[in-house]
């Protein structure tokens, strides 16, 4: 098995085991989405209009959950030293960890949109497009968060600082993700325009995360 695959596999196994927090993001996503209708009151029209925004906000918050441990756990127990000694470039090791994190957070969130969309009265025709925006947008969110996670890897209680650092950087994904989902529910903008920009943001974020995250981890020594 290649070093990249071994790292992805290890992180997936760790996430699935007790204490790994693999399902935590999905549960958090569900809690946030379920609470909003209670806060807004019984206005189905309002709810379905802002449904994509609620789902996207919840996705941003759910991505931040547990992200602070992405590199911190490996830094604390010395696993990071072992990874630095591998022939696998650190940039690829970061992408492996981003992939594993996305497989346990972003992907389940996107797949569960048809379920959670019901809670915010999302119109049936908007279900699949909204799920698609999350599928394309959440890798970018995880990648952006990984840079913050690398910067705060050696910090105790770095979770809050991480959120403060990366939340502003997630704004572009949020804007184009929500506008793509809204475009699917009607409007003048074609669905694919904001979606293409969202995809571009995610791709740029993945490349940036690999380079910036590696620089941050190396500089942390």
């Amino acid at each position: 098995m290649s070093a990249f695959a071994a790292l992805v596999r290890r992180d997936l196994v760790l996430a699935a085991r007790i204490g790994g927090g693999g399902y935590l993001s999905l549960l958090f996503f569900m809690v946030v989405v379920a609470l909003v209708p209670f806060a807004l009151g019984p206005d189905l029209n309002l709810l379905s209009r802002i449904g994509p925004a609620i789902l996207w906000l919840a996705a941003v918050m759910a991505t931040l959950i547990g992200l602070d441990r992405l590199f911190q756990a490996d830094e604390e127990d010395g696993s990071l030293d072992v990874m630095l000694g591998a022939s696998l470039p650190l940039e690829l090791a970061i992408l492996a960890k981003v992939l594993a994190h996305w497989l346990t957070t972003g992907l389940p969130l996107a797949l569960c949109v048809p379920l959670f969309g019901l809670l915010v009265a999302l119109p049936a025709e908007a279900m699949a497009p909204t799920a698609l925006t999350l599928l394309i947008g959440t890798p970018g969110l995880t990648a952006i968060g990984a840079v913050g996670a690398a910067l705060t890897a050696t910090m105790r209680r770095g979770g809050l600082i991480l959120a403060v650092i990366v939340a502003p950087l997630m704004v572009p994904s949020l804007i184009f993700g929500v506008s793509a989902a809204n475009a699917a529910m009607g409007g003048t903008v074609p669905f694919t325009t904001p979606l293409a920009i969202l995809g571009a943001i995610s791709l740029v974020a993945l490349v940036t995360a690999a380079l910036a995250g590696a620089a941050a981890l190396r500089g942390g020594e």
């Binding site: 070093a3 290890r10 760790l14 085991r17 010395g78 696993s79 591998a86 022939s87």
Partner: protein, 212 residues
């Protein structure tokens, strides 16, 4: 994977350190440190607490940048020093929820080794614990698991930081024998330790002893 495999078979004839200086925070731990370790040799580094033994090993492993001086592996190949060495530190890189065998398999795949995990575990007397989550191991067993990384992937340079901590007498002897086998196979080792380690022909270097 191809590149990683070839690295494992790269031999290093000498590890040369010239004029090394290390600073941690405001303190200069050591400076002007020069030494060489040839293939087949073991160097034990001793010194009082805080003398910079761990920092020295981390510099050799390429995990820490020295403020001055250089570390060179000869002959100079394509592989970076960090890809040629095993650094086993006091932080053992062990995850409580992974089983013992999963650790060895992960290290083997990550570091480009070819060893059979069960053979590695038998070598370090961890075979009965193979399917146990590492969180249940005693500190001596954790230590042996961390050291099992040395066998999971072949690398010419071993950098061991207090390897004998928490090991019982039998395990210490087995560790010394394992280091000797590594040296006999053309490897080299630098060991920072307080406990005397019975490796035949090991040289000893004292750092920080003369500091005021």
């Amino acid at each position: 994977m191809e590149a990683a495999l070839s690295v494992a078979h790269v031999s290093v004839s000498r590890l040369a350190v010239r004029d090394l200086a290390c600073r941690r925070g405001e303190r200069l731990l050591f400076s002007g440190l020069s030494f060489q370790v040839e293939a087949g040799q073991c160097l034990t580094v001793v010194g009082p607490n805080g003398a910079g033994k761990t920092s020295l090993l981390r510099i050799l492993a390429g995990l820490l940048h020295p403020v001055a001086g250089e570390v060179a592996c000869e002959p100079a190949g394509e592989a970076e020093p960090r890809e040629l060495c095993h650094f086993v530190g006091t932080r053992e890189a062990i995850k409580a929820s992974l089983t013992v065998r999963e650790h060895v398999r992960f290290w083997r795949d990550l570091l480009g080794g070819t060893a059979d995990p069960d053979a590695v575990l038998a070598e370090w007397r961890l075979a009965p614990q193979a399917d146990l989550p590492a969180g249940y191991l005693s500190s001596g067993q954790r230590r042996r698991l961390a050291l099992a990384r040395l066998s999971a992937a072949a690398r010419p340079i071993w950098l061991l930081d207090e390897p004998a901590n928490a090991l019982d007498n039998a395990a210490q002897a087995a560790l010394a024998a394992r280091i000797e086998a590594h040296l006999a196979a053309g490897g080299l080792a630098v060991v920072a330790t307080h406990l005397p380690i019975a490796v035949k022909g090991a040289r000893t270097m004292v750092i920080g002893g003369a500091a005021p």
